[in-house]
């Protein structure tokens, strides 16, 4: 690997973009939009370069940069990516331009809006590349700030409440996580994920914590569990896992749709990323101890969110719940992977499948959910903000292309084979079923309910009689079609040739599944 600090540069590009966008703020909105989009596309290009230069078969992290930072805390500026990080970078880089394209309705303080978006992207990049807790946590928390303002300043009528809920809720999770990490730091003097993971896998982490911290009121197991619970809460809120999800529907609904795209497409992955990068390698034992309740949580996340989505009438709210549902599968698979230790070849194969499935599902959900919200943005733009399920009908007559393309995205979300959603779900179920049979079997219900409400959307919005009000709705413009083509195309490509992604992440997935064997 060359010594060029690719990742730092990649993280700095959106920040520079934000500054430039603010600087040209006085210019026309179009210029601002194009500038911001340009920077996000530069970031995308850089990410593709990283993708191109990535060695899928190599162990460990690539493009690493390491500089001493706060020596007192033993904290380093340590960044690097493996397959997972790379995939998440790519997802963030894809989702951000989508979010920008879907932000056409933003008319006030345009330059600030786009600057915040770029800033959010930088935080995402930072989060997905950091390998040291402090550095990672700073980006993790910093991401909240642009997100908060994006929701608060450009959101819907209840945005104040939504932004506050979002901020406070995630903050609470972050704080518990921070405390847990401080506990770990006090015991290990390290903030490095790799080190901590290594200690956990060799079984030294928890005894050290118990020895150094010595909370005499608690047994060692309980101490470990409390620390685990703190970290778990932080991530569970972010993903979210039922019952820590209540901030999400309101936030996704009230946020401007462009922001929602970033929130669901990339930010929700931060939680899962945390599950994979931190919880699984460091707290595998604790997860095993409480596996049954965790599995119930996962099943509840999948099934209840699907049912709740069915009962919604606001399209954005529906997709918000649907997001919870889709990420629930990832949660299920992660818990399933945590179930068994050991090196049994049959089990390992299932774990690999589940892990690969999680990676794919994360990416696919990001892509599909972002696209769906994009469609909503386009619909809102045409309908003047109306997006109720029952406000429409028969739109297929006036917007056939829109219907067709959104139909593809909807079916991708439903998990139709041939589109990107399927393989991830297949691998997740394939891997989880032998590991946690009943939870997986129950989760299948989520697939059915998802189908019900997605077909419900199609039926109520696009089928049936066309109300007079919408008789003049214009179909997609040429520009919109052209910008949609790559995304929809990617759905097909991933659905038909998942090896494109799997080839890159498979090795990382294996490594992650293998680290668990040592517990």
């Amino acid at each position: 690997m060359s010594g060029f600090p690719w990742i730092s540069v990649l993280t700095l590009v959106p920040i520079a973009g934000a500054i430039v966008v603010l600087a040209v703020g006085a210019a026309s909105h179009t210029v601002v939009r194009r500038t911001a989009l340009g920077f996000s596309l530069i970031a995308l290009a850089l990410t593709l370069l990283l993708w191109y230069g990535f060695h899928p078969e190599a162990n460990g992290y690539q493009y690493q940069e390491m500089h001493p930072w706060i020596s007192m805390l033993n904290a380093n500026y340590h960044v690097g990516i493996d397959g997972l990080g790379l995939l998440m970078l790519l997802l963030s880089a894809i989702v951000t331009p989508i979010g920008m394209l879907a932000s056409r309705q933003v008319e006030r303080q345009v330059s600030l809006y786009f600057a915040l978006m770029l800033l959010l992207q930088a935080c995402l990049f930072g989060t997905f590349t950091a390998l040291s807790f402090i550095h990672w946590f700073i980006f993790w928390e910093m991401g909240l700030i642009p997100a908060f303002f994006l929701v608060r300043l450009w959101g819907g009528p209840k945005s104040a409440k939504a932004a506050m809920q979002f901020l406070v809720y995630t903050m609470v999770g972050s704080i518990t996580m921070l405390m847990s990490f401080l506990a770990i730091f006090l015991a290990t003097r390290s903030f490095d994920f790799v080190d901590i993971g290594r200690m956990a896998q060799s079984g030294r982490l928890m005894p050290e914590i118990v020895a150094r911290l010595g909370w005499h009121l608690l047994t060692p197991e309980h101490t470990a569990m409390v620390i685990f619970a703190g970290v778990f809460l932080g991530f569970a809120v972010k993903v979210p896992v039922i019952p820590f999800h209540t901030w999400l529907p309101l936030t996704y609904t009230e946020a401007p749709t462009g922001t929602t795209i970033l929130l669901t497409g990339a930010m929700s992955k931060m939680g899962l990323y945390g599950f994979l990068r931190i919880l699984l390698p460091c707290f595998g034992v604790q997860m095993q101890h409480v596996l049954t309740p965790l599995l119930w949580l996962a099943v509840a996340t999948i099934v209840l969110s699907a049912y709740t989505a069915w009962a919604q009438t606001d399209l954005k709210r529906m997709f918000a719940y649907s997001s919870i549902n889709h990420l629930g599968y990832c949660i299920l698979a992660i818990f399933a992977v945590a179930k068994f230790t050991g090196t049994d070849a049959g089990l390992m194969s299932q774990k690999f499948a589940a892990m690969d499935g999680v990676f794919l599902q994360m990416f696919n959900h990001g892509l599909t959910a972002a696209t769906l919200f994009w469609f909503i943005a386009m619909l809102e733009k045409r309908s003047g903000g109306v997006r109720g399920l029952n406000d429409f009908g028969g739109l297929r007559r006036v917007m056939p292309v829109f219907t067709g393309l959104m139909g593809i995205a909807l079916f991708s979300s439903l998990g139709l084979p041939g589109l990107n959603g399927f393989i991830g779900e297949f691998l997740i179920f394939k891997g989880s079923f032998p590991l946690v049979t009943w939870a997986t079997a129950l989760s299948v219900l989520g697939l059915l309910i998802t189908a019900i409400f997605i077909l419900g959307i199609l039926q109520r919005v696009f089928y049936g009689a066309l109300p007079e009000v919408w008789a003049q709705l214009p179909d997609l413009t040429v520009g919109e079609r052209l910008s949609l083509v790559p995304v929809i195309g990617l759905m097909f490509v991933l659905g038909l040739y998942p090896q494109l992604v799997l080839g890159v992440v498979n090795h990382t997935a294996m490594q992650m599944a293998l680290t668990l064997r040592n517990f």
Partner: protein, 702 residues
């Protein structure tokens, strides 16, 4: 490896490419769309015939006739997921049938859909359907099969809801997709289970495939927690998928509603091919279905096949019963399809692959013939679908009538010259010699009686007597499709154009001829599928009670037809609103049958309502419990914050203020004390001395 085996993927790929091109064609490109679809289908048909010939050739040379071509698709962990295609007699028969029937229906659709504004889209969907269906057939991987299976479901959804403005079509399409998906989910679990147990989803892969003896032995040897053999468990889960797709008993409710789609769709998807995919699936995984018996060499049928048999026979009877009391021409055929699919399942269960598949093939021809005939009738009657408003069409639509009669007799199983007779008879015979129970046989026989009866009823209603069509009134769901036709043809019932009648006649011809491929005397079809020696043997009629079964089933057919004549032929139906002749006799039963045993209402009241209730509950949970917990925490925090702020304002701040004031006041006081007079200070010192000394002494005393 032969070229055709390696390039078997071309058969589904050609329609797929056509569908892709049509998808980006403008609405006006009607001819382009139709010709692309039909052209690709013709090429696929030719390739299918080539493949078929190849298999026949191999068979005749006595070579191994199972050829596969596998390739790697994607990787997880150290493993690769492989897909592939397979060429064996089962595939060959199915591809030929699907491409041939499909081609005819494509051609027919040009006429039927001529006036539809979404003509282009229609052919796009049809081509996509054909691609997926053919992919399903050639798939050598359960995963690939499932993927195509789902896409078939999607196209079915799209085509049922083709007239999307009609809310009933929209609802029916949704119902179809969801009902089949209910079956698909256990199927999906079955696949996942099978994958985890056998390590591969390839059917055949040179000894390591999941349907090959090594894997099967492995599956049979293992037991689930409830004592069932793993192979049985997987087989039953997979069968759930077939139940959904093939409209078997508990999940049949979507098929009648699917008739909201255009009639060619009903003919192609909901009669000939897609619904038969479930039967095909069972046939494809037949080694797994019969694994228990296969491995143990037991005479008895495996548990999975028993389930298949019972579900099939129940469905056969059930569908036939309901069909008796329907008025919609397409719904009668839909229930008939359900019933016949039940027959096929029963055939698979009691007789094996060839028995069920033979009926599948013959049924595909005569049922698509019937549907196309019904479509022709509907087309001729400007969208009317209620048989009570038809009548006397025999004279007005002679070609349609003749071909319809052929299809009807084949469906009834009229002896000797109609394919349905041979295939159905074989099922009945197999059921008769089934060693577990005779009940399926009697159920099948009774269903055969009912079949003859309801088809006779339909014939009399539609073609006999005088026309009862109300001029200028377009009822039913074909209205949309045929809305434009009235201007050209006028309201009078009329014969359909040649583009529609020619496929009808072709199908009728096939219907007549096909039966002779599988007579007991010369069971070519059976031997082809099951790899047995083929010879002409008229003695077969005499074996194992074959002859009595033939005679009795013929008698049953005559009885059914006779009953139909007794009720509906003797005194022709004269008025559109006259009560049904049978319904007059047994109104209660007729009402129950007319409402299809109230299954839809039952499901509405139970499953649908339970699910809706659960969705309400989960919303309620979301709003009150989860959110409530958060709100409690929030209000708790708020209360704490308020308390804190109260304390701050009134206690801490108050104390501080008080303190400040006190300090300042005491300062004032002290300032007063601070007289600057030495003596007053000294006084204070004196007082302090007194106090402290007193205190010390008092403490010392105490």
């Amino acid at each position: 490896m032969n070229w055709i085996v390696r390039n078997l993927w071309l058969i589904p790929m050609l329609p797929m490419v056509a569908a892709g091109i049509i998808a980006v064609t403008k609405r006006k490109g009607r001819m382009l769309a139709a010709s692309l679809a039909i052209g690709s289908m013709s090429l696929s048909f030719l390739l299918s015939v080539w493949a078929f010939a190849h298999v026949v050739l191999l068979r005749n040379q006595g070579q191994i006739d199972l050829q596969v071509w596998n390739f790697r698709w994607f990787q997880f962990g150290n493993e690769w997921v492989s897909l592939g295609w397979i060429l064996n007699p089962l595939t060959a028969v199915m591809v030929v049938m699907v491409t041939f029937v499909g081609l005819l229906i494509f051609i027919y659709s040009i006429g039927y859909m001529a006036h539809d504004e979404n003509f282009t889209r229609f052919f796009g969907f049809l081509a996509l359907f054909a691609a997926a269906m053919l992919g399903l057939i050639v798939a050598n991987s359960l995963l690939l099969l499932f993927m195509c299976w789902e896409i078939v479901g999607l196209t079915s959804y799209l085509l049922i809801g083709f007239w999307y403005s009609n809310p009933r079509a929209a609802a029916a399409s949704k119902k179809a997709f969801l009902t089949t998906r209910i079956g698909d989910l256990p199927f999906f679990l079955g696949i996942v289970w099978l994958y985890s147990k056998s390590g591969t989803l390839l059917f055949y892969n040179g000894g390591t495939g999941c349907l090959e003896p090594m894997s099967l032995e492995h599956l049979v040897a293992q037991r689930t927690t409830i004592g069932m053999c793993v192979a049985t468990g997987i087989a039953l889960l997979i069968f759930c998928g077939a139940v959904g797709k093939s409209g078997q008993f508990p999940l049949h409710v979507w098929l009648p509603d699917a008739m909201e789609g255009p009639t060619p769709v009903s003919a192609l998807i909901h009669a000939a091919t897609m619904v038969a995919a479930g039967v095909f699936l069972v046939a494809r995984v037949y080694p797994l279905m019969s694994a228990h018996a296969l491995v143990h060499g037991a005479v008895s049928t495996s548990a999975a096949l028993q389930v298949v048999t019972w579900v099939g026979s129940i469905t056969a009877l059930f569908g036939a019963l309901i069909a008796v009391a329907q008025y919609d021409i397409k719904r009668i055929l839909a229930y008939s399809t359900i019933s016949q699919l039940g027959y096929m399942m029963m055939g698979l269960g009691v007789g094996g692959v060839s028995v069920g598949m033979f009926h599948l093939i013959t049924h595909a021809f005569f049922k698509s013939l019937l549907f196309l005939g019904a479509g022709s009738v509907i087309h001729g009657c400007s969208g009317e679908q209620d048989i009570r408003r038809m009548g006397g069409l025999g004279k007005l639509m002679p070609f349609t009538f003749a071909t319809y009669a052929v299809g009807m007799l084949a469906l009834c199983g009229f002896p000797l010259f109609f394919s349905g007779f041979w295939s159905k008879d074989e099922i009945l015979h197999a059921a008769h010699v089934w060693d577990l129970s005779q009940i399926p046989f009697y159920m099948g026989a009774f269903a055969a009686l009912l079949t003859a009866f309801y088809m006779a009823r339909q014939m009399y209603y539609v073609f006999a007597g005088s026309t009862r069509l109300e001029v200028g009134e377009a009822h039913g769901d074909g209205a949309n499709a045929t809305a434009g036709m009235e201007h050209e043809h006028g309201p009078v019932p009329h014969e359909s154009p040649a583009v529609m009648t020619v496929p009808l006649m072709t199908l009728a011809g096939c219907t007549l001829l096909l039966g002779f491929l599988g007579t007991p005397a010369w069971p070519w079809f059976q031997s082809f599928l099951e790899d047995t020696r083929l010879r002409v043997d008229f003695g077969a009629f005499a074996r194992e009670g074959m002859f009595p079964v033939m005679i009795s089933s013929s008698l049953i057919v005559f009885l059914g037809l006779g009953l139909g004549w007794w009720f509906y032929g003797r005194e022709p139906v004269d008025a559109a609103d006259a009560p049904d002749h049978l319904g007059r006799r047994v109104p209660a039963i007729f009402a129950v049958l007319g409402h299809a045993f109230y299954m839809d209402a039952l499901y509405d009241k139970t499953f649908v309502r339970a699910n809706i209730a659960f969705s309400r509950i989960s919303t309620w949970l979301d709003r009150w419990v989860w959110n409530g917990a958060v709100q409690i925490v929030r209000y708790g925090t708020l209360a704490f914050a308020h308390m804190d702020s109260f304390i701050d304002n009134h206690v801490v701040n108050g104390a501080f203020d008080e303190g400040c004031e006190g300090v300042s006041r005491s300062g004032q006081i002290l300032a007063k004390l601070q007289t600057g007079r030495v003596q007053s200070y000294l006084k204070v010192i004196g007082v302090a001395l007194i106090v402290f000394t007193a205190l010390l002494l008092w403490r010392a005393n105490a």
